[in-house]
Symmetry: C2
Subunit: 217 residues, 2 copies
């Protein structure tokens, strides 16, 4: 018999992440992990994206990660879809969601009746990128107010994601910000990245984002 | 003889932070640690604040913390003040600056000829709050585009700081954002917090911020 040794936290996390992907395959849902800095607009984005998916008869649920508060989960619950809240404060104020908290959150859902489950990770452009949540797709949201240099300064985040959403394009006329430089910087780190520009406030760009997310199923 | 046991990383960090405060006292400088989410405007804020301090014959230096790149340090160096760059990539891509990286950075300066040394921490509203850098003053920068709820969602950051700078007030006319709610949320977490609103882009509010920083010496 092979004896398994769990070497460290990251290895244990990777094992659980693999288990989660097996569950997703078996139950037939896609797990999508959304990451960003605090205040980039992840919740507002979900408030636009989920009704668009519901319209196309795609059944969604959300796992909300925050250090503390249930404010975002309450906003999501208003859309009448299943939502699970993880407060990392109980895990020592963790700065990210690991697979070990995603797994029990998933078990709160009727997985058989879901097509897409979103994870809204803790607002942090550093640590969440280091921990595999078991997601099938990783999305990074970056807002126009954060400056063009962020992909270069936080490269791991842009390496582990397949889709980059540039949010808050409605503010472009008021900013000293060049969206082309941001796109170039994203491609310097990850030439394969799918990039969508949108405004979760006005809805601009959401047709394209909805299509991209559906294509990833 | 008493045998010292260093129990864990945080305890070792606190010991070094105490050493740094002793050096600051002996050499007569004040160490100011600036923290925020990525893209809240820390570097632009320093580009306004430092010339204002130089005008008042206050001698400054900056320790720049980034996971990778020297982009911010290069901007600071243009003001002809001493700057030390810490890239945490060499320390495993750390998401914060600990006292163990601040101490050698300080030794790069002629400490005897400095009044105020700024630390521009890694852009992250979570982890930097957990590590004492040895600073005498902690400042959090929060921009108007990040939403009113951030103090409630990232309470530790607002607990460990003495000054909160609300940046990007020039964007207020274009946002669905209530600055009074943000201020109330800050005071819920930290009733003693000094709050200054400003725009590092236009310069509004910098007279007050400069006075506040000078008063903390």
């Amino acid at each position: 018999m092979k004896i398994q040794i769990v070497r460290d936290v990251l290895e244990a996390n990777d094992q659980l992440a693999g288990d989660i992907r097996n569950i997703a395959k078996k139950e037939g849902f896609t797990l999508v992990n959304i990451m960003s800095s605090p205040g980039s607009g992840k919740t507002t984005l979900l408030e636009r994206l989920i009704p668009a998916l519901t319209n196309k008869e795609i059944r969604t649920a959300v796992i909300e990660g925050d250090i503390t508060t249930t404010a975002d989960a309450e906003r999501i619950a208003r859309m009448n879809i299943p939502v699970a809240q993880i407060n990392t404060e109980s895990f020592g104020g963790d700065c990210h969601l690991g697979a070990e908290v995603i797994l029990p959150a998933l078990h709160q859902f009727d997985l058989n009746n879901l097509d897409l489950i979103f994870i809204e990770n803790v607002g942090n452009l550093v640590c969440p990128a280091e921990f595999d949540t078991g997601a099938n797709v990783n999305i990074v949201v970056i807002s126009t107010t954060e400056g063009e240099d962020k992909p270069l300064k936080y490269p791991l985040m842009f390496r582990v994601c397949q889709i980059a959403v540039i949010n808050k394009i409605d503010l472009l006329p008021h900013l000293r910000f060049d969206i082309q430089i941001l796109e170039e910087n994203i491609r310097k780190i990850n030439p394969m990245m799918k990039i969508v520009s949108c405004s979760a406030q006005t809805g601009e760009g959401f047709d394209q984002l909805t299509k991209l997310v559906i294509a990833k199923r």
